[in-house]
Amino acid sequence: MTDKLKIRLTFLGALICWLLFSASNIYLLFIESYEMKVQLSDFIPQLFFTGFVVSTFGYYRYVISKADTLNFTDLLWKVFITGLITTLISLGIRFFFTVFANSSIVENPLTVNFFYNILLGLVIIYMVSTLVVWKRLILYQKSKNLLQFWSFFEIALLLSLGYDFFELELFGTNFNVGLIVLSCFSLILTFNLKWIAYLNFRQKWKGILFILLSGIYLYHFFLNLDDFRATGVLVMDLMNSVFFLGLLGFLFLYAGISILVTLFNLPTSSVFERKLKEAIDYQKLSQSIPRGETIDQTYEILLESSMSAVFADAAWLEVKEEEGIFQSIRNLKETEINEIKSKIKSGTIKDILSLNFDRDHNPSKLTDSLKDNKYKSIIALPIYVQSKQVGFIVMLNEVSEAFNREMVNIITTFVNQTSISLENLALIKESLENERYKEQLKIAKNVQKSLLPTNLEINGGIEIDAFAMAADEVGGDYYDFIEIEKDKYGLIIADVSGKGTSAAFQMAQMKGIFHSLASQKVSPSQFTIQANIALSNCLERSSFITATYFYLDAKKKTIEFSRAGHCPTLMFCSETNETSYLESEGMGLGIVRNSKYEKYVHSTTLSYNEGDTMLLYTDGITEAKNETGEQFGDDRLRNSFNSHAKKAPAQIKEAIKRDLADFTGEVAIDDDYTMVVVKFNTDSNG
């Protein structure tokens, strides 16, 4: 069943029960006055009355519990309005009786009972709705025990309705027992008044007013009912009901106690409000950074919150930031600040103001009194970020001894929260920065990739394939080739010492040197000498570059190369099916940075046959380690290359990569590594 349906059903139930109750009541009256012999039990109207009460209770329970968002004054307002409407109607009835005071109509039992039934309905509606509201108030911040106790109370009320079936004598023994039980329940429940603490000053006044008025309504109803009782012609007198008197007593009692407690709470409500405001300010501070406010805004919030927490007349805050000193001032002039600063000559506050304060402070020393100044009291607190004092906050009051230890504690929590917020901000900034660096490195990686040749096609029967892998985002390995003129090619492999970003920059430099020198058609020896000169001017002293430069002549089928400290090239001879290292003297570029370098430069020329294959590589491959720390080494590389050398360059490359991966297993290769496979085929173009 939906709540809406429940509300409608209970409403309808209450209405029908009331109609039936009235009808049966009047009917009983008829039977009595005309002495008819038709018997209708007295039970019937009582039954309908019970149905009416229960339905009304159900109706208000659903209506009021549905309105979850209502605050306490809204609830009391509801009671007030229901009371107002019911009271106005009952006043109308009273008016009717006053107007026709001397007429026979008002003495007719039928009329009296008819209006009494209406009044009864109104009273029950008002009382039950008030009961439901009181329930909400009593059960605010409920415990399990309280909830149970309330259930017992409701059951007792229901039982008291049943009790009324036996038309008990007013204030007879049985009647009194029922009433005492209900009163005991009421008394215990009455002292659940936690909600009052949550009203602010204005709401408390409103609450008192509404509850007072609802009490007056109750009293008015009581008087009204009593008047009817005096006519002595009522078929069913509500005043004889344990339920009615018990409920009335409870409602009155709770209203009375609520008013008293609210009154007594009035003077302390400002304290409670202040505590609440402190909590809110605290929250504001802790959320100011996540909300996207700037550091300075956070300091402003800190200053405002602290000022209102300790009732300061004036205050200022100073923080040393990267861009200079941030200062925020309230109700003070610059000259006054300087005057106060000069007044404080020693002690803890002096240390705080001069930004060299020891963290383990005694809170009592943070307050002081000022002499011969407009402001008599001062609090100063240091502000820390990452355990360094970056600033301070000062509160001033015109009254002497205005600040106490509790106020220091409050501001301390504010300041601490600010520090945490700012530290969090610093961390966020750092991680953003890191994110940016990562992004930059990604860009660098792409740029570097573009420095390596993408088009590996060479005419003249030379076929090339290559692979390069950097240990970090960017690396210091380089390979390239250039067609110098028809059938003449320049080819290079180079390895910058170290790895990472600095290596990547030097690798880019190497590319420039290669392209400018190779295109001038210099010999490999000259290439090495010139490259050494060029690099000597720009390489860091501890950096060097190893390289091998090849000059390939596809027409003469010769290779001329100069090895500048780079790992020796592997050469597969198709005739003998054997692979050997091309041994040659040489020295790394940038190691000797004067003309003496020339004497270490050598070049070698050899000729190749169809099917011969060359493998250029960097030491990342030979120095790759497996789990036991063993290096891949020259021999393994040579054997691997030898066993695959008859394949196409791309397949050779993949096969060596596989062999290398099989060797290293799980261990990641911690260096840049590169290989270039050069296969010499017969020139298809002639």
Binding site: S497, F544, G588
Partner: protein, 113 residues
């Protein structure tokens, strides 16, 4: 990781290197050289018997002091280099610039020449 010990014996300053000298640990080797230079030693013997691996960054440390040693007439000898490490020195051409001895006695002899 690298472990570097220094000792002085008969006017020869010994730097004994143990472990791996790579990009991360080469700074320790560099510091060792710096200290020796500050003291003003003129004869240095570097014991590489227990050096397992040296990366290009480690070689860079030797390279960076070459000029200064030559200028200040400081004699430097490496000795006890393992085969795999020796190869690295040779490929780069450093064996032509730095005196290399088989063992400690030979190293001292070279320094006394």
């Amino acid at each position: 990781m690298v472990n570097i010990e220094k000792e002085k014996n008969e006017d020869v300053h010994f730097i004994r290197v143990e472990g791996d000298v790579d990009a991360g640990s080469s700074i320790h080797l560099d510091n060792a050289f710096k200290e020796v230079l500050e003291v003003g030693e003129s004869r240095i013997a570097v014991d590489l018997t227990r050096l397992v691996y040296i990366s290009s960054a480690g070689l860079g440390v030797f390279v960076s002091y070459l000029d200064e040693f030559e200028l200040k007439k400081i004699k430097l000898v490496l000795f006890g280099i393992q085969e795999t490490v020796r190869q690295v020195f040779d490929i780069l051409g450093l064996e032509k610039l730095i005196a290399i001895a088989e063992n400690e006695e030979e190293a001292i002899k070279k320094l006394n020449e």
